[in-house]
Amino acid sequence: MEHKFQINLGGIIDLLSNHLYSSPGVYLRELLQNGVDAIRARQHIDADHVGRLRLELGMTDDGQPRLVFQDDGIGLTEEETHRFLATIGESSKRGVEAQRADFIGQFGIGLLSCFIVSEEIVMVTRSATSPEYAIEWKGRADGTYTVVQKPGDTAPIGTTVFLRCKQGSEEWFEAERIEELVRKFGGLLPYQIDFVTADGTIQVNDQDVPWRKTYESRSQEWSALMDFGRRMFNQDFFDCIPLRSEVGQVTGAAYILSYSPNPTAKRAHRVYLKNMLLSEESDNLLPSWAFFVTCVVNTNTLRPVASRESFYEDETLQQTREALGDALRDYLIRLRKHDPDRLQALITLHYRAIKALATHDDEFYQIIIDVLPFETSLGRMSMGDFRNRYSPIRYVTSVDTFRQIAQVASSQGLGIINAGYSFDVDLIEKLPVVMDVEIERIDSVDLAENFEELMPDERSDVFELIAVADIALQPSKCAADVKKFKPVELPALFLVNEETKFMRNLENTREVSNDHWASILGSLAETGGPKHYARLCFNFENPLIRKLARVEDRKVLRTAIQMLYVQALLMGHHPLSANEMALLNTGLLDLIDLAITGPDEGGWVQ
């Protein structure tokens, strides 16, 4: 036997108000939306119909606030009233009607949202297709409704909704709040919206929409757009860019922020769907790199998701996003050609976003790469300036590595770019592909290749030092070497590359892993072998190292080497493993002991 679900209307309303809709204020959006769709439906049968919306705030006889919302749209017949207002989820815009591209609503639950603020909805409607008499529909929050014919009623064609404020919803019936919300949701609607209160009547959507107008000059259009943006977002912008896309039928403007935004911060794009505000937080309309602008746009064809805060990620959206991205990109290219100073100012604010674009657009990359700034061992510098001084372009891929070797590199007269920040590696590694420029990724191991080798007699002086160090550092998978380099104050440098760093991390983890994972990590480590050892490079220019090379007491030598190793690790910001912590502890105590015991008894450094 077949049964039917029972729907708890109160529960549905709770769901709408607490989960689907972000605020009770959306009841105004839904009313506006229904009104606009009704006007558009009427315009399909009467092309000359202008369309108008009216809100009137008053009081009921018992002193409760009451809002009357009126449209002069197509209205509903009695049959339509039963069909559309008695079945949740049924919309007058379904089926053939839904094919019309100019309707906003599509979920058929709009009027229900009024129950969030009112116990009862009264709707009086007269259909343009059968205007003989008006219909009055009364719906209550308990799910019951009545429909009566009103033969004598003089209601005009269209629909009027009467809402009596329910207890606790008073704030949503305050005149200021209603005006603010109607302006917010319907400020761009092309139909006049009047709001009547005890203080008189105002037109809520009195603002010019700049992209619906034509201008005599670009500067006029620019001024209008800037002014519009300033009023809409209540802030000044660096610049603005008109947006237009055939796909998605998008019009609007992008405003360049006058400050450097955090790339991780969510952009608040204001998006209108058929001139009704869809979202103030839409985040998927523009390419991900466009985090330096905030937009206001209207679209006529994109499909909103049910929460109405973004669009379905379909092909139309993809193409729209590309078209809008192209508009921003073309603007940047125009600046590069015609206004380099302005571009420079913009790069100072928004280089991250511009770098993001350059990473996946080769043509733009070629145009812009030389003016983009990078951190180098000689300070901040544009790629163009750096390229003029150095070839090949040497770079490191992590901020840590840069910190470890920048000072040493500049002492050797080497220019190195720190590509450890977002997008920089990708940008530099595109140089040979897109511009045929030679690049060289380096790390501290490569850097040491440039250090001066020891003379043969000096090499024999350090033979013992290297031999003892190799044995002392073997458990840490580190090999020793001695070279000459600057600055002389630096006794030793711990040399790692990405591979040895990974292996070091793997070994440290293996030390603390359970048997199961120690076995797996061991398998990975086996492929390493001595070629993946890190290196401790002693500096023969350093007086301490020269002294150390003469130490004969093996225990002292070994302890000193281990301590220099730990010190080099700390200098390079490398975390110490448990074994290295133990080395530090015992080594320090041994050295103190030796210092106290003195050179006569302990063979201390001469």
């Binding site: 901020v399 977002s422 199961h516 398998s523």
Partner: protein
């Protein structure tokens, strides 16, 4: 100060794309380790795990997961594997989720034995059962692992069947990922029609996540072209490549796009993609990812027009190898040797010849269709 810096670093991750999360997450872990604050190190490593998995560093994910799992097994009170109750509760620090990610990538490392791979999956099963969580993700991981290890196809099919018979709970993959899994399995059965039917669910973008439909569109490019649906394949290529181009986690999907351009007789286009993404392959420690790229590189080199230039980093071949002359003619035999050697290592690990066989079919397919 350091505590505050770690918190700042971890908070900075929100909103960054995964590849750009790696450096700050690693820094946070390093600082937490230096501080000796294990709780903070535990939390930071979960962030690093996510960034590494989705930012294309499966090796770092593996090491990170090893630390987490070991900590949890050594001190389960302080570092619980999960706070799930009847499979309903998820927290940001949940090891059970990590098994899916790390388990899947293990076969990509030629150094890791079959025994160890199977043991990790078994630990996953035991943990899921212990926490009363549906084995649905386990069976998906099983199916993929059988495929990766070149096991008898019936084993994969059995795992898919078990997957279908398991219920979804909070630990199931997202809907988009599950659709993608189904597409993968249909492609494995060479049923392009069914695969395309399933992929339709993803085309409109109603279901998507960090990896889907990126990998789905990419995996469909070549089979769709081969089925004669060239226009549709071009759409998959355009949309799929655009989604994959910024993240080295998509190295293998990128190879599908390189192959597609060869099929489309666009040698220069294939070579441009190859050069652009070569640094990803050079850095890939997971042998299977590197092998897949080398296969495409070999195809590009061997199908090059006479006298074509071919520049590539010699590190792609084997470390410390001398770079061949920058011509396709000189590179092709070197690439072929590198592909064969690596495939043989995988075969030896797997105990069959499935990888070499796959390599052969790949090369023959591209040559035959040109």
């Amino acid at each position: 100060m350091t505590h505050a810096r770690i918190t700042e670093l971890l908070e900075s991750l929100h909103g960054l794309d995964y590849p750009n999360q790696l450096a700050p997450a690693e820094e946070a872990v390093r600082l937490a380790d230096q501080l000796g604050d294990e709780k903070l190190a535990w939390k930071a490593r979960f962030q690093l795990l996510t960034a590494a998995v989705f930012g294309g560093e499966p090796d770092k994910a593996l090491v990170t997961f090893a630390w987490l799992e070991s900590k949890s097994s050594q001190d389960p009170e302080r570092f619980p594997a999960s706070r799930a109750v009847l499979g309903l509760f998820l927290s940001e620090t949940d090891l059970l989720w990590g098994y899916k990610w790390v388990g899947l990538n293990l076969p990509d490392f030629v150094e890791i034995s079959r025994v160890d791979i199977e043991a990790v999956l078994e630990r996953m099963r035991v943990q899921y059962e212990h926490h009363h969580i549906s084995l649905r993700p386990y069976w998906a991981a099983q199916a993929r692992t059988h495929r990766s290890l070149g096991d008898d196809h019936s084993k994969t099919q059995e795992a898919v069947k078990a997957f279908n018979n398991s219920k979804r709970d909070a630990y199931a993959d997202c809907v988009a990922c599950e659709w993608n899994f189904r597409v993968e399995m249909e492609l494995l059965d060479d049923d392009i029609e069914r695969a395309l039917g399933l992929a339709d669910k993803l085309v409109d973008g109603n279901h998507s996540c960090a990896e889907v439909p990126h990998i789905t569109f990419s995996s469909l490019v070549v089979p769709t072209w081969r089925a004669g649906l060239h226009d549709r394949a071009r759409v998959f290529h355009k949309r799929g490549y655009d989604m994959c181009l910024d993240n080295k986690d998509f190295l293998v999907p990128i190879c599908e796009h390189i192959d597609f351009r060869l099929l489309e007789d666009d040698w220069l286009g294939a070579y441009a993609l190859l050069r652009r993404h070569a640094p990803w392959a050079r850095d890939a420690r997971a042998g299977m990812r590197r092998l897949r790229f080398l296969q495409s590189a070999l195809a590009v080199a061997s199908l090059a027009p006479e006298g074509s230039e071919f520049k590539m980093d010699a590190d792609l071949l084997t470390e410390q190898a001398d770079a061949p002359e920058p011509t396709a003619h000189a590179w092709a035999p070197r690439l072929e040797a590198a592909v064969s050697a690596l495939a043989a290592r995988f075969d030896s690990r797997n105990g069959n010849t499935s990888v070499s066989e796959r390599v052969r079919q790949h090369a023959e397919g591209l040559h035959a269709e040109r």
